[in-house]
Symmetry: D2
Subunit: 341 residues, 4 copies
């Protein structure tokens, strides 16, 4: 931490800062500049946070130097992690050596629609299925998902297809029932900072897919992962799904740079969701190609056997020729960047 | 709703859209332009949403024309509403005729700190007290609030000061206990789209203070209010607290225009939180003046008897001379814009 | 400046940084933390910029501590400045003691329209007139302004009304002719970082109204003012006119906090343009009230005798009842916040 | 165009709109809904813009349906264009069949530095060289480029290496001299809306590289290209270089989706600048891979023989191992997505 004093700070102001830092066992190095003084702090950063240095007389600014996350940081865990999803012979890795393709319907609507969508996905190369039983919707008048009935459909489709299930949980009260049926719990973009829910999935004993909040910085996102990790669950996969910007031609702006930035800071795997980022099916294939090439550990996409009938996000679901193009990209491109597809 | 066909849409594509609209009882008006055809839809807009028109062949775009919210809209409720907070002789209005000053500590830390802060606030003219017992924090290592013990402190301070209590609830499981102690339930910026929590406070029988998500559009915010209203609770007060932008000199950018924009669209009262928007105490007084002048129905600010000891957001808490300046503004400016202060 | 070394930086890396800093006459203070080392630099900051410290081995980050602007900074010029516009008896101040109301048509279209608009403005209390002869337009097919003919109309209207003229210049080649006719040169939002133009107006010997780039940080804006000041022209008035955000209900988001933030950092006057920020005439009066209350030194608004016929930005031009409401606000509110109106 | 009437619009208001549309030769189709009426306009859209329909009584909103650009649109020019840069045997294509690698120093500093950088670039596979003689800098105290001397250095290096030159022009007055020395004129991000400069390069008879404004929408960017095209110059190559968002870990956020979005709307080629988007050299290789995979027609990157000595943007210049990794990606990946590299 570095404390920047204002130009008119007095010697006494500087001494007060030094004393307060030393009072919690820290050391303070004072550098007097021509215009202003800066004070470098050395010691336990968490203890400094409680000091409210920014409120002290003569203090102009306080710069944090270290990353605030610990368990998910690559600093003390330089090797990138692999998270395994599913049971027994159906276990699927997500990590640095492989490229994992996750697909399925945005929402579980019926047994038949879910099975058809997942069989399309599997035929295209997907090894984990997605599908929403609990849907967070902007409008209280929109389809909110089938709930527990949807979970049972997903479990049935897993029995038929063998693909492990990732599905979203939106309320801490639902975590036990979702964890009972699913292989991986998804935290959606709107809940990335729902800290009670993060702690609940941290306690649930299943891997977690943590989507980036659509307006969260990468640091805030890694802090959300830290909430889960702090409960003893390090099986967290991050998912970049677009951030909110001023550009209206896509629903969100896919922050493709987030993939290498996260990989430099954290050991956790990171995948990309091009469907929700773009909100347009014509962009899903090119953005998936970009995700593979930039080094993502996987992609997650929406497919639907009949998008015109979809109860949720039909415009972004792939079908037919697009899905074949995606299948081809997922087969051919990862080896070109050194991964097993 | 207006459907815009692509330039290469066929007559058959157009007919399909018209048929689908008519299949749910709507009417479709076709306007053929030089380059493209547009189709105006008339009927029940909710039934149109399920049609997935955007996925149909030949459809380039679908424009929504009406606002998606209903119960909170001013369209069928032209008079702006007043929400009453507290019981009996201590009831306080928030609405179009008055200007309501809410103040208190960011977090409840101890009985004494809370009482001192609320007495400072009351002396400066505040008529409702704020204070957090459950704190959503970006870091799992930061102070998370006293929980139920904090609620009891707030209730005790209410007994002493007579000021009704508004406090945040962050988890649907906590709504009953918070509703038991508080007079108004606050939904914080990170939970604006936590729909399960919105429904829970909608059922709780107490007025709600709904902060804007730091990255929510005004329409999304009003849809969040609609979630509460849909459970039968129309006692919702909106609170503008800054949005996330690229400007780093303030923690968030106070969207002062949101006040008249919301007042034109919704009958619900709207107040401003300059403390959390700016994150700097030197801006609280000028931004509070701006809030009064733009026509807000109130402000909510952080005060602390000793900001240097605050466990949360010390840098933005007012004290001494600033609080006196704010008290003066709250007394003098509302009458200059036609309100009782 | 503070150099933050990476966790794996060697002693040699640290020595290299120290040597390089000392090679340009600076001093380097090394603080070794538990995890990483930070180095505080003292000396001439401009010489440090050329060192490319960020590219050196072992350097993780470089934090700038001081503001990069000098001439426009309040640090060595604590009193806020007043800029005078116009000649002789018609000179009008813009500064900390007064509130200046500038109004006129967005674009000069005809002599009559301009005169009518300016007389409306004057009757409402305006003391400086605005009007565009050169219009930067997003579309090459839109009305681009009357050019020099427009300048002559503005000068004629000044003769009739006595109001000094502020008008935009969009090309460095036009600066001499605009400076010949106008009393104040406006740099529009799209040209805030057109450095050649900034230097040209810096040389022109007339006061400058510098609008904020719609996506510029406050620091970048003050650096643009520094470009003008560096040519010897300190008669610069800043104008906040909204920034680009994700919120679609207003054309831009008025950053009302920019007023006190700028006033804390710079001695230059700052005014607000609510018309271009909102792009909606129903918001101009409430936002003008907010501007006065927050402490702005003036406002600049669009008026048009017949907005339905306007060639530019008709939807935001005030007329009739709105202009009377604004006139009243401009008369009554400034005294309530300690200014002469 | 679609005009949306407000809920309380009268029959007379509707008639006025219809009459005004018809007065310029357009047709108006009226669709009366349950709550409000919408009017579809058919005819010459440019004539409708002058009508100021948004200012008319009873009009709630006006939605534009068609794209506002024409010459650069793919609508009447479905085949994607190829732009050729340079003379004779050294002509290099930028377009849909090839992948073009442009590289060189951010700024021209000396003959030797420029030659070394360009030889590095050529060895890595670059076929066009970049280098700045005129540098737009945020600070008036920063290195502003060598000007005409820099142009001569670039021309000399072209003689030695055979690579055509792209260089930035920042002032309309400099266009003739830059066009005399360079093979392609670059418009930088800060000048994307400098309309006089756009027109000047439109008249200069050389291909143009048009960078996206860091806060421009894709539509505004294509309108800027339209300004150039309207002067008769269709040899415009677009360059995505990152947009301004709230995410601080990269200098800008590379909007990778812009590539397929632009390719769907416009026939112009589009390339990517990962160096300026990220501002960090460790991201240049992964982002270049993503650019190739998403379908970009080329990349432009900064290289410097000695980044620690660079006068501009040293931290993002590639060297050694990174440049070799980039050279490999540029050789191997384009064929995997169907292009000649």
């Amino acid at each position: 931490m570095v404390v920047v004093m204002s130009a008119d700070a007095t010697e006494e102001d500087i001494s007060h800062v030094v004393e307060r830092v030393e009072s919690v066992g820290g050391s303070a190095f004072v550098s007097k500049g021509v215009v202003r003084t800066i004070i470098g702090l050395v010691g336990d950063i968490d203890s400094f946070h409680g000091l409210n240095l920014r409120t002290m007389t003569g203090v102009a600014d306080v710069h944090r130097i270290s990353d605030p996350f610990k368990l998910v940081s690559r600093q003390h865990h330089p090797d990138r992690s692999t998270v395994w999803v599913g049971q027994g012979e159906h276990r699927v890795p997500i990590g640095p050596d492989t490229f994992t393709f996750i697909a399925g319907p945005c929402a579980v609507e019926t047994s038949q629609q879910t099975l058809e969508a997942v069989e399309m996905a599997k035929a295209a190369g997907a090894t984990i299925m997605r599908g929403g039983a609990y849907k967070p919707r902007t409008s209280p008048y929109a389809f909110q998902g089938l709930g527990e009935e949807g979970l049972r459909i997903l479990a049935d489709v897993r029995t038929v297809t063998g693909l492990p299930v990732v599905t979203e949980v939106v309320d801490a009260r639902d975590v036990p029932v979702v964890a009972e049926h699913a292989d991986m719990l998804q935290i959606g973009t709107r809940n990335m900072a729902n800290f009670g829910l993060l702690q609940a999935v941290g306690d649930a004993g299943k891997p977690v897919l943590l989507k980036r909040g659509m307006t969260a910085t990468i640091e805030e996102w890694l802090m959300a992962a830290e909430y889960i990790a702090q409960r003893g669950n390090l099986d967290v996969v991050l998912c970049e799904r677009g951030i909110r910007t001023f550009e209206p031609s896509t629903r969100n702006t896919l922050d493709i740079s987030a993939v290498p930035v996260v990989q430099a800071k954290s050991h956790l795997p990171i995948i990309v969701d091009p469907s929700h980022a773009a909100g347009r099916k014509d962009l899903v294939v090119p953005l998936s190609r970009a995700a593979i090439a930039v080094g993502a550990d996987g992609v997650i996409v929406d497919v639907h056997p009949n998008p015109e009938q979809a109860l949720c996000d039909g415009p972004q679901a792939l079908l037919g020729s697009e899905l074949r193009a995606l299948a081809q990209a997922v087969r051919q491109l990862p080896p070109a960047v050194g991964r097993i597809s």
